[in-house]
Structure formats: C-alpha cells, structure tokens
C-alpha cells in the first residue's frame, strides 16, 4: 500500500518524483490523495508531522522523497534508476554514495527566487538563467538524459521541477526558457513526453494555484 498526496504546493514535484520512480520500475501502487489543508486523522496518526509525499513500503511509512526513492531503489533494483556519482558530480550537490542525491536544488531554489521577485532588476532571473544554462551545456555534451542514453533518478527528480517552473513562470511572468538554451528545451520535451510522466503529471491549474501564495505573498 503506497500513499501520496497530490494537492500540494512545493511537494508537487517531490511527489511526482516518487510516482515517476514507481512507474519507471513498473511497480504497482495505491494512491491516496490527502488534502494538505485538511489532513485526515488516519494520516496524522501514521505521520504526525503530516509530511508529503509519504509512502508505505513493507508496512513501514517513509517520508522525504530522497529517502523514499532510495528505499525503492534498494528494494527493487531492476530496472536500475541509479545515476552514477560521476554524472552528477558536475553539479556538486549533496552526494551520498552509492545513491546520488542529484535533485536540481539550485535550479529549483533560483526558480522560486525569480518567481517571488517583484523587482525585474534584482538579479533573480539571471541567477535562474545561469543554472539553466549550466544544465543546458551539460546536457548538450552528455545527453539526451543526465546519465546519457537512459532515464535515471536524476531526471525523475529534475523533470517535475522543470514542469512546475515552465507552467508557473509562463503564467505569472509570461516567461519561457529562452531559445539560447535549445538542449534544455529538447530535454524538457523528452522528459515531459515519457509515458510515466504523462501518467503522473500535475494539472496545469493545480500548479498555477499551488504557486499563487508564493507569487502574491
């Protein structure tokens, strides 16, 4: 029995990351949607901090998408989604051998900075573009996916964030990934067209509403 929550703000991409992992490994799962604004008793009793996504694996509840995806990879190693450390070391993110914690965190945090910004000259857009440009260069040399030919954990972590970024920045700032980053554009299309992605992707309106408090606040 697996559980996850769909109705949410920033766990959106983290939830999709877990679903993508389960889908790519062809694992059956049960979804339970939880209203983040109104967490039911049964949910809080197994998960007092109310974290999402949360997954029940072998009668144990696990929170945190990093821990969940790692546990799933350990228990179900085939097909492998491991992103080798050398592929992600380019990004200098928190690595924890043997599983790579590539999660595009700088892309995500600079995206949030830009989304929230009310001053077009405050450098937040450039900060995001710098991160995206670095990724564009990486994918140009190493693509089509982060680990080359095949999809791996790093793509399942980054893909959902890029989808949120594309929708939210498109809606709130009429911004889109510039044509100067064609490899990033192609990467996004490849990931967004994966069957596992189309099965698990959030609704456009939910993404837009989910980010509204950050934009307005």
């Amino acid at each position: 029995m697996y559980s996850y929550s769909y109705f949410l703000l920033f766990s959106g991409p983290f939830t999709q990351r877990v679903l993508l992992t389960l889908e790519e490994k062809l694992l059956p799962y049960d979804l339970k949607l939880v209203d983040i604004g109104n967490k039911p008793e049964w949910f809080l009793s197994i998960n007092p901090e109310g974290k999402v996504p949360v997954v029940k694996l072998d009668d144990k509840w696990i929170a945190d998408s990093d821990v969940i995806t790692q546990s799933v990879e350990e228990k179900f190693p085939n097909p492998s989604l491991v992103t080798p450390p050398d592929k992600a070391s380019v990004y200098d993110y928190a690595l924890s051998a043997p599983f790579v914690q590539f999660n595009g965190s700088k892309i995500f945090s600079t995206y949030i900075g830009f989304l929230k910004s009310k001053d077009p000259a405050d450098g937040t857009e450039q900060a995001l573009l710098n991160e995206l440009s670095a990724f564009n260069d990486y994918i140009k040399e190493n693509g089509p996916f982060i680990n080359g030919k095949d999809i791996s954990a790093a793509d399942l972590s980054l893909g959902p964030k890029l989808y949120h970024l594309e929708i939210a920045l498109g809606h709130y700032k009429k911004w889109s990934v510039p044509d100067s980053l064609p490899h990033l554009q192609a990467y996004m299309k490849s990931v967004f067209s994966l069957e596992s992605f189309t099965k698990t992707m959030p609704l456009t309106e939910d993404v837009i509403e989910g980010w509204r408090p950050k934009v307005m606040g």
Binding site: E166, I167, G170, H171, K174, D179, Q185, A186, K189, F192, S193, T198, M201, L203, T204, E205, V207, I208
Partner: protein, 219 residues
Amino acid sequence: MASSNDVVLLNFWASPFGERVEIALAEKGVHYDYKEEDWADKSSLLLQMNPVHKKLPVLIHHGKPICESNIIVQYIDETWQTEDPPLLPSDPYLKAQARFWADFVDNKVNFSAIWRTKGEEQERAKKEFIDLLKVLEEQLGEKPYLIGESFGYADIALIPFSCWFYAVEIIGKMNIEKECPKFIEWVKRCMERESVSKSLPDPHKIYEYVLELMKKLGN
C-alpha cells in the same frame, strides 16, 4: 454598450473555433456572458478538428443565435465598430484575400493525425503540417500579419491553433520554431495582443487535453 446578458457565447474551452470568437469580442471591447458547454457526446470530443463541431461556438445576440466561428467573427466586426481598423479589410480585394486564408485554415489545418497515428503515418502527418505552415509563411512574407499591417480576420482564424503546438511538439517530437521561425514570430506577435493572450488557454492545459483524447482513442 450592450449589457452583458445581451451577448452570450456558448463555447468549449479547448475549441480553437470558440477562441476566434473570444478574440474578436475582446478586440471590439464587447462585454458578454460566457457559458462553458459540457460537450456531452464523448465521441465528438475526439473529432476536435471536425466540422461536426460547427454547433459550437454559438454567439447569441439579443436572443438570436449565430453559428460558425468565421461567420460569427464577421458578424462581430459588422455589429461593433471601433476606431481601430475593422477586422475585415474594407478593400474588396484584401477582404477576399482575408476570406481565402480563413477558409484555407478551416480546410487544411488538421494536425490531430500527429497524435492519433504512429510510425510512418505520423511522419507523413508531421511533414504535411510543416508544409502547411511553410505555405502560411510564404503568405506572411515580410508583412507583420497575414493580410497586411493590421491584425485581422485571417490572423484570428489561425492563431488559436498555436496553443496546440506545445502538445504537437512533445508528442510528435518536433521543433516547430526551428522549421518555421517566421511563423513562430507571427505567433509571438499575435500573442502580444491582450485580446489573444487572454483568450487562448495555457498550452499545458491543451497538452493535458490531448493526452486525454489519446487515452480515449486507446493510444
């Protein structure tokens, strides 16, 4: 100005034909009531680009219905005059050109094959679609809009299909801007108009919708 319940638009949110009417109404600053129609006949949903859809949109003005999106746009142009140039040029030759290209869009633009088929059939559909856009690029030439300097009837007929390009590019694994950069320039130019950007749905929503259609078709 007519009160908003004198003008009612019946539409389906994803319909490019309905969007033509929304754009025209916005260009003229007309206030209207919008009624989303639940398209009950599920199989019709699958024939999105098919003339069977001529029943939506419907514009109801003073209780009288007007059908067929291009005809509605012409009606709107004639009924509400503003200081801006009319949507249809007054010069008979240019007017004929505008009508020709709007008809061309109606008869030729049909890229649903790109998501309904696979393999060779899909490749053929993709090629046909790009060839079509190239014909339109030729018509554009160096002009900002299809018929001349002003955004008008022919542009309105065509622009709503642009929000389907995202879905087509992902599913068809295409890059439309690379093959038809001039066409995409025209799309961006049209999207700068508020009437257009406010009337067209988010391309991600259309992508979701196309995926649903594909599921229903068993793809």
